[in-house]
């Protein structure tokens, strides 16, 4: 490719043209705009500036071992009044139906700023030992460890909930330093290390949840770099986790999704500004019933509650796992977002909703909030 001198020359000329012509406003302008959005228009949207959907699997996989209805994932305290999503009908459905929310991968509050024992990563330059996390991150002179995802459930069947977390090590340095991920389980109020999920060579988590029966289900990028996602299921055996099942979903089996969103008017209530955003996810590909990662990202802490899942944590990012629609159909996810009392009314705010099924098929949508 690089021997194509004519092409190289053409691109060089194009880049030179841009260097001589482009007049970017500068970083100060970007900072000013970011501050303006933070102060006013995007104030609530400090709560949910973006919704990102990441593909997690395919229909044939999910149908096998992810419940398609009534799955309450990791609700901390199951209640008789828990709402269960309707079971998708095999007949043709004309309109979107509520998505089944499987899990919230957002690290719970007790973990976000906890001090926990972290075993050594299989990568040089990674901190380990007893690490003190702040806002889901441990940063030191030798590198950083970040909480990529977490799930709550009783994995060791002792009657109390445990936390399973995917920790990613970023040893630092410029360029493309490889990262390493390990999935660990912590138990009890002191978050004692229970065990490590033997994933082996994991570099990215696509989905993570604890089933009601305590099994850990993990979706991850293929270790060989080929497009596709591997779903593995692990079970606590008394002294460690064992892999009991797994499915490899090739890239060409990954469906295509399109996302749109619509907010209701922002309401001023005694507790602070709040709004509801209905996100619609349509499966435009040939495959059905994939688990999707739905991430709500913001710049300011806010309460985000999702129908069917108790997710009251006050923080700036929420990661959910939902069951995607069947091919050609759509599901909706209703997000209720609230800012603390005294926050600015976000008149004219905009919300970006984006879908990242495989990065090749990216879909996004921007909506404006109305007072």
């Amino acid at each position: 490719m690089r021997e194509s001198d004519e092409l190289v020359s053409a691109f060089t000329e194009l880049e030179a043209f841009v260097r001589g012509t482009s007049r970017l406003p500068g970083l100060a302008a970007a900072q000013s705009e970011a501050a303006r959005r933070r102060r006013g228009r995007i104030a609530v949207w400090s709560a949910a500036a973006a919704v990102v959907l990441v593909l997690g699997g395919a229909a044939t996989v999910v149908a096998g071992w992810l419940p398609r209805s009534g799955m309450t994932g990791l609700e901390p305290s199951p209640s008789p009044s828990v709402t269960t999503a309707p079971t998708p009908s095999p007949s043709v459905t004309t309109g979107p139906v509520p998505a089944t929310v499987l899990a919230d991968m957002t690290p719970p509050e007790q973990l976000r700023n906890a001090t926990i024992d972290v075993p050594a990563f299989d990568l040089a330059g990674c901190p380990s030992g007893r690490l003190e996390f702040r806002d889901e991150a441990f940063v030191s002179s030798v590198g950083a460890v970040l909480m990529d995802a977490a799930a709550v459930g009783d994995v060791d069947a002792d009657g109390t909930e445990d936390i399973v977390v995917a920790l990613r090590c970023a040893p630092g340095g410029s360029g493309h330093v490889p990262s390493s991920v390990q999935v660990l389980a912590y138990s009890g109020p002191g978050l004692a290390l229970l065990g490590s999920v033997p994933t082996g060579g994991l570099t990215r988590v696509a989905s993570l949840l604890v089933r009601p029966d305590g099994d850990v289900e993990l979706g991850m990028a293929r270790a060989d770099g080929v497009q596709g996602i591997v779903f593995d299921r692990y079970r606590w055996g008394g002294s460690g986790f064992e892999r009991i099942d797994g499915v490899d979903v090739p890239g060409d089996a990954l469906p295509v999704v399109a996302v749109s969103a619509e907010p209701t008017a922002v309401q001023l209530v005694p507790g602070g500004p709040s709004t509801t955003i209905v996100v619609t996810v349509r499966n435009e590909g040939p495959d059905s019933d994939l688990p999707l990662q739905l991430t709500v990202v913001g710049t300011e802490p806010a309460t985000v509650e999702v129908e069917g899942l108790a997710s009251p944590a006050v923080q700036s990012r929420h990661d959910l796992v939902i069951v995607a629609p069947e091919a050609g159909q759509a599901v909706t996810v209703t997000l209720r977002v609230a800012l603390p009392a005294g926050a600015t009314l976000p008149v004219g705010s905009s919300v970006l909703v984006a879908a990242y099924p495989t990065d090749v098929n990216t879909s996004s949508f921007t909506v404006a909030l109305q007072a």
């Binding site: 004519e6 030798v142 770099g225």
Partner: protein, 178 residues
């Protein structure tokens, strides 16, 4: 935080500062504009995309700066914007208000040909070509970003290059009118 690792082996020790981000902006923003110009064929839009990407990076920089490849993250944001409804909405607003920058010099025939030839490529081929030639990304890096295999990227580059070669070899009068 330093984005280039000094000889002393300093890593991502601290969270990023505004000074760090300023360095990143100075070093990479124009290159990003060039890449997105090649992809979209619209310089003003490319500038908007890059600026919007940095607007979104600013409040998250303390965390993004700890990532393995913060520049890659910014690039991905800009590219995602380029393939999103944000891009279409921005383009529509620009067309509606007819605010095309006046400071831009007239395009040269060569550049017109290249941009037009790029526009004729399928988006996946265009992305691969632009990332390879303008972003200086390796096949492995492009494959990682696109979440496909290196062989797929090789294929896209091969086809993209063939498409560009065919278009650029056409008589100039057919595409260039400047």
């Amino acid at each position: 935080m330093s984005l280039t690792q000094p000889s002393g082996g300093r890593r991502h020790a601290q969270r990023g500062t505004n000074a760090d981000l300023d360095e990143v902006y100075e070093a990479h923003s124009t290159r990003l504009v060039a890449q997105l110009y090649a992809y979209t064929g619209d310089l003003a839009l490319a500038e908007d995309l890059v600026q919007e990407a940095f607007v979104r990076v600013v409040p998250r920089w303390s965390k993004i700066s700890t990532y393995d490849d913060p520049i890659g993250w910014i690039r991905r944001v800009a590219w995602n914007l380029a393939t999103s409804d944000w891009r279409r909405a921005r383009r529509a607003r620009r067309l509606a208000s007819a605010t095309r920058e006046e400071h831009m010099p007239g395009p040269s025939p060569d550049r017109v040909m290249l941009v037009q030839a790029l526009a004729a490529l399928p988006p996946v081929q265009r992305r691969a070509v632009v990332m390879f030639y303008l972003a200086d990304m390796s096949l492995a890096d492009i494959a990682e970003l696109e979440r496909v295999s290196e062989n797929t990227i090789k294929q896209r580059l091969h086809r993209g290059r063939a498409g560009l070669a065919a278009a650029l070899s056409e008589p100039r009068s057919e595409v260039g009118h400047a």
